[in-house]
């Protein structure tokens, strides 16, 4: 594994790090693009992107993690575009840069939260994307009404309340006189306020879950990972009803992680995420590539 810094970008300099496998770039193996999660810099929450980039390199997959303008080490752009639009444009600049510098023609965006939204929008609009890993995206279908979005947010909040009220430790403290029911209630409401602070029902229409079938037809493999009770999962549920309705989408893999938070704080969940991405890359992406690119995928290199 070897890492080196790069600076690229059409409008303003974007700072990134390329992680190369020991054997260098392999033909027909896509390059992963790690997309900023919210305002966290390119290392990702809990350094998740760094760890994943190096584990992917160990199985022969190169990657670029970089900062969108105004995040991490990349200076702010003068662009007046909305952050999400700018994110998609800058992810395209990253792909253009890699196409020129390492002649890569196939890409897999990986993002958490807003990074996942950008990854989904990129997959929907750029045919160089052959797969995407979406961790807790907050995507919604174009026809979604504001009321439906708010309903999803309420369900996510209700899940949060329920999980706290099911906490036996809290009630043990009540029963042993070390706490009282009112303080548990207050704590639950206060913590929910923190958990969902700044999170409102999504309004954007251009990250359209309704595109899932079309992406599948195009051969784009999607791995979506949700924390149980996360807003994005509730939005997906609102859209598809039962998860069984996703079964026909055979290029869409859904994974739900129980008892975790939005950014996968438990180490156990981070390790599970790494395993999911590595397995998915080996099992699903190779087949998709073989169909969409010239020549065959060196599957063994990914296993």
């Amino acid at each position: 594994m070897r890492e080196h810094t790069v600076v690229f970008g059409d409008d303003s300099p974007l700072v990134g790090i390329i992680t190369e496998p020991d054997g260098g770039y392999q033909e027909n193996v896509p390059v992963f693009l790690f997309l900023n999660a919210g305002l966290d810099h390119r290392a990702g929450p809990h350094r998740l992107y760094v760890t994943l980039a190096r584990k992917l390199a160990a199985v022969g997959v190169a990657s670029l993690r970089f900062d969108f303008s105004g995040i991490g080490d990349s200076p702010a752009s003068r662009s007046l575009d909305a952050p999400e639009d700018r994110g998609v444009a800058e992810a395209r600049q990253a792909m253009n840069f890699l196409a020129r510098s390492v002649r890569s023609e196939a890409f897999v965006p990986l993002g958490l939260c807003s990074g996942a939204n950008v990854g989904f929008a990129l997959a929907a609009t750029d045919r160089r994307v052959v797969g995407a890993v979406l961790i807790n995206p907050t995507t919604m279908p174009a026809e979604h009404t504001k009321e439906q979005s708010e309903e999803a947010l309420k369900r996510a909040q209700a899940h949060h309340h329920e999980s706290r009220l099911r906490d036996w430790k809290s009630w043990t403290r009540v029963l042993t006189g070390r706490s009282n029911a009112m303080s548990v209630y207050r704590s639950t409401v206060r913590l929910a306020g923190h958990a969902f602070r700044g999170q409102s029902a999504p309004r954007r229409k251009d990250v359209d879950l309704g595109l899932l079938p079309e992406l599948g037809t195009r051969g784009v493999e999607l791995l979506a990972v949700f924390s149980e009770g996360d807003l994005g999962l509730e939005l997906l549920t609102t859209h598809v009803g039962s998860f069984e309705n996703l079964a026909p989408l055979n290029r869409f893999q859904l994974e739900i992680v129980r008892d975790t938070d939005h950014i996968l704080t438990p180490l156990h969940d981070q390790q599970r995420m790494e395993a999911l991405v590595l397995n998915w890359t080996a099992q699903r992406l190779s087949a998709g590539l073989a169909r969409s690119a010239n020549g065959s995928m060196p599957v063994d290199a990914l296993r």
Binding site: H46, R164, P266, L267, H268
Partner: protein
């Protein structure tokens, strides 16, 4: 601004060099020492802003990630002893790169504790800023435990942290026992060996231990103690809330002014 890797091939460190935008008579460089663990992520923007302000006062600046942290090589936090080596390496890199004659360090929290511990072995240090330093390792570990019960972890998540991760302190990073033991040994108050031509101890949290440390250090060192009140940027509540990425402007101004010799 120039991002780059430096150091031994198998243990390379990520750094960002900021060239001065104005010229000084005597070239001088400052190495910024990040705090650790989740505090590193929270303070990244503040350090970038601090670097930008310092280059405007003629300083060469190097920000860098400790081994096992950020973009530097290594699988996880490797502990204060390794980080001390990293700080020396970064200082040499800056001196070589900038031709700096004068060298300064600015450290925040455990980064300040680290800087204070290493300072006695660097005779050329002209200025040392200890910004809300971690004076006592065990106190810091207690803070980490409190963080485990942080506001965003649900009971189920917390149980998972406790059940599955022997090295999981609920901060999202693997903390090996030897790292914790190293941190546990940190005790600036009993060592009092931080040294530089001039030292600034900046306390933004009305910490009695910081004030006491500064007072005792001042008995033998040229110490300026400055106290102001500002929200602790290193405490995380909700990651996607821009309000928590706030830059501590008053602290940065105090540091830049003191570094420039223009503080009141």
């Amino acid at each position: 601004m120039e991002p780059f890797y430096f150091g031994p091939k198998d243990q390379r460190l990520f750094g960002v060099y900021h060239a001065p935008s104005v010229r000084r008579d005597v070239p001088a460089g400052v190495v910024l020492c990040y705090p650790f663990l989740q505090e590193y992520f929270r303070s990244h923007r503040a350090f970038l802003r601090l670097a930008t302000q310092l280059v405007g006062r003629g300083w060469h600046v190097l920000r860098f990630d400790y081994s096992g942290c950020g973009d530097s090589y290594g699988d996880g936090p490797s502990g204060p002893e390794a980080w001390e080596q990293d700080l020396r390496l970064a200082s040499r890199e800056l001196i070589d790169r900038a031709g700096a004659i004068k060298l300064a360090w600015v450290g925040l929290r455990l980064g300040a504790g680290l800087a204070a511990s290493v300072a006695p072995s660097v005779p050329s240090l002209s200025r040392l800023v200890l910004w809300d330093p971690i004076v006592n390792g065990p106190d810091y570990l207690r803070e980490l435990d409190e963080f485990r019960h942080a506001l965003t972890l649900s009971p189920g998540t917390r149980r998972k942290v406790e059940r599955f991760g022997p090295n999981d302190r609920g901060v999202g990073l693997d903390l090996a026992p030897e790292v914790l033991q190293s941190i546990n040994r940190l005790d600036l108050a009993s060592q009092l060996n931080a040294c530089a031509d001039q030292i600034l101890v900046l306390d933004t949290q009305e910490s009695n231990s910081t004030a006491d440390y500064a007072r005792r250090l001042a008995e033998n060192r040229n110490v300026t103690f400055k106290r102001l009140s500002e929200r602790p940027i290193w405490i995380e509540r909700k990651r996607n809330d821009p309000r928590n990425i706030k830059v501590p402007t008053a602290s940065l101004q105090a540091i830049v002014d003191w570094m420039s010799g223009t503080d009141a």
